[in-house]
C-alpha cells in the first residue's frame, strides 16, 4: 500500500536530515582538524616559504648594534643576557590571519618550547610561542584579543595590565590621577625593560574615576619579517 505523506512533513524531515549531516560534519571536522594540526601546518609551511621568497626575498638580518649595546649594559649590572637567540622568519602575519597570531619557521628542532619569548630584532617583545611543531611554531602576540600582559608605565613606574584588543592594539585602565601622555612608553616588567607598547589615545570623562588608555604595538605587526626567539 502506498503511503502519501503530507508534503509539509516530508520537507521538514529532509531539513532535519541535512541539519544533522551538517552538525555531524562540524563535530567530526573539529575533532579531526584538532588532531591533524601539526601535519597540516607542516604541509602548508613550504607554500608560505615560497610565497615569502617571491614577495620579499629571504635574507636573515644581522644582529643590530643596539642589541649588542644592550648586552654590554646587562653585563655591567651583572645580568648577562642569554646569547642563544634563534632568528626566525615570519611565515604568516596579520592580516592573513584574523587573530593576532604569527607563524615562524623555527620549531622544536631549534630547541624552542611553548612559552619561549618572541621579540623584534630591535628589542620590543611581541609575544610568546603558544604552539610548537618540529619546523614551525605559532606565536600568540600580546595584542591578541583578551590577552593580558603585565607591564610598567615608563613615565612613573606604575605597574599596569595591558589587555590585547587585536590588530596590534592594547587597552589599559588607570586611576585618573596618574599622569600619562600620548607617546609614553609601556615597558616589560623584567630587568631588560623592553618596550611593549606606546600610548596612543587617552579618554577620560569628568564623572569617571578611571581613564581608559589605548596603546599600540611599537612596530607594525602587519609587516613583520624576522623575529628573535629566546628558547
Amino acid at each position: 500500500m502506498k503511503v502519501n505523506y503530507l508534503p509539509k512533513n516530508r520537507l521538514r524531515h529532509a531539513y532535519l536530515r541535512r541539519i544533522i549531516t551538517l552538525v555531524a560534519i562540524f563535530i567530526s571536522g573539529a575533532v579531526i582538524f584538532s588532531l591533524l594540526d601539526a601535519i597540516i601546518i607542516s604541509i602548508i609551511s613550504p607554500i608560505w616559504k615560497i610565497k615569502n621568497v617571491i614577495i620579499t626575498g629571504n635574507v636573515i638580518p644581522s644582529l643590530p648594534e643596539e642589541q649588542t649595546q644592550k648586552n654590554i649594559l646587562l653585563e655591567l649590572v651583572g645580568r648577562k643576557q642569554e646569547s642563544n637567540i634563534v632568528i626566525a622568519a615570519v611565515l604568516t602575519r596579520p592580516p592573513q590571519t584574523p587573530y593576532d597570531v604569527i607563524i615562524i619557521d623555527a620549531g622544536s628542532n631549534e630547541s624552542l618550547t611553548i612559552g619561549s619569548e618572541v621579540s623584534l630584532p630591535e628589542g620590543p617583545i611581541l609575544g610568546i610561542i603558544s604552539e610548537i611543531f618540529p619546523k614551525s611554531a605559532k606565536v600568540k602576540l600580546f595584542s591578541a584579543s583578551g590577552e593580558e600582559t603585565n607591564a610598567v608605565l615608563e613615565r612613573n613606574n606604575v605597574p599596569v595590565t595591558l589587555v590585547g584588543s587585536g590588530g596590534g592594539n592594547f587597552k589599559l585602565t588607570l586611576p585618573r590621577d596618574i599622569a600619562i601622555e600620548k607617546g609614553d612608553r609601556i615597558l616589560s616588567p623584567d630587568i631588560t625593560s623592553r618596550p611593549l607598547a606606546t600610548v596612543g589615545e587617552i579618554s577620560v570623562r569628568p564623572t569617571d574615576s578611571f581613564k581608559e588608555v589605548l596603546a599600540k604595538s611599537p612596530t607594525n605587526i602587519f609587516s613583520l619579517r624576522f623575529v628573535f626567539v629566546t628558547p
Binding site: 531539513y15 541539519i19 571536522g29 573539529a30 597540516i40 592580516p95 584574523p98 597570531v101
Partner: protein
C-alpha cells in the same frame, strides 16, 4: 559540480595566501552560491588550524567563525528551498 570544486579550490588558495578580509567573505559567498556547502565547514576549520591561536576540540567547537558558518548553512536550507527557481 566543476564550479563547486573550483570555488572550493579558490577559497582554499585564498585561505593559504590572502588576507582574512578576502577569504572570510569568500567562504560566506560560497555558502550562499553553492547548495548545501558542507565543504565550507572543513575550510573554516582549516582557517582555525592554520591561523587560529590554539586548536583544542572544545574551543574550535565554539569558534565564532565556524559556528556562524554552521548557522548560516542551516538557515540557508529553508530559505534556498523557498527561493528555488524552476526556470
Amino acid at each position: 559540480m566543476i564550479r563547486r570544486v573550483l570555488g572550493s579550490a579558490v577559497i582554499l588558495a585564498s585561505i593559504l595566501v590572502l588576507p582574512y578580509w578576502v577569504y572570510i567573505p569568500l567562504l560566506f559567498i560560497g555558502a550562499i552560491l553553492f547548495p548545501f556547502f558542507w565543504e565550507g565547514i572543513l575550510l573554516v576549520f582549516l582557517v582555525s588550524v592554520v591561523h587560529g591561536s590554539e586548536m583544542a576540540v572544545l574551543p574550535s567547537l565554539v569558534s565564532p567563525l565556524a559556528l556562524s558558518l554552521l548557522v548560516v548553512l542551516i538557515l540557508l536550507l529553508p530559505i534556498r528551498e523557498r527561493l528555488r527557481s524552476y526556470v
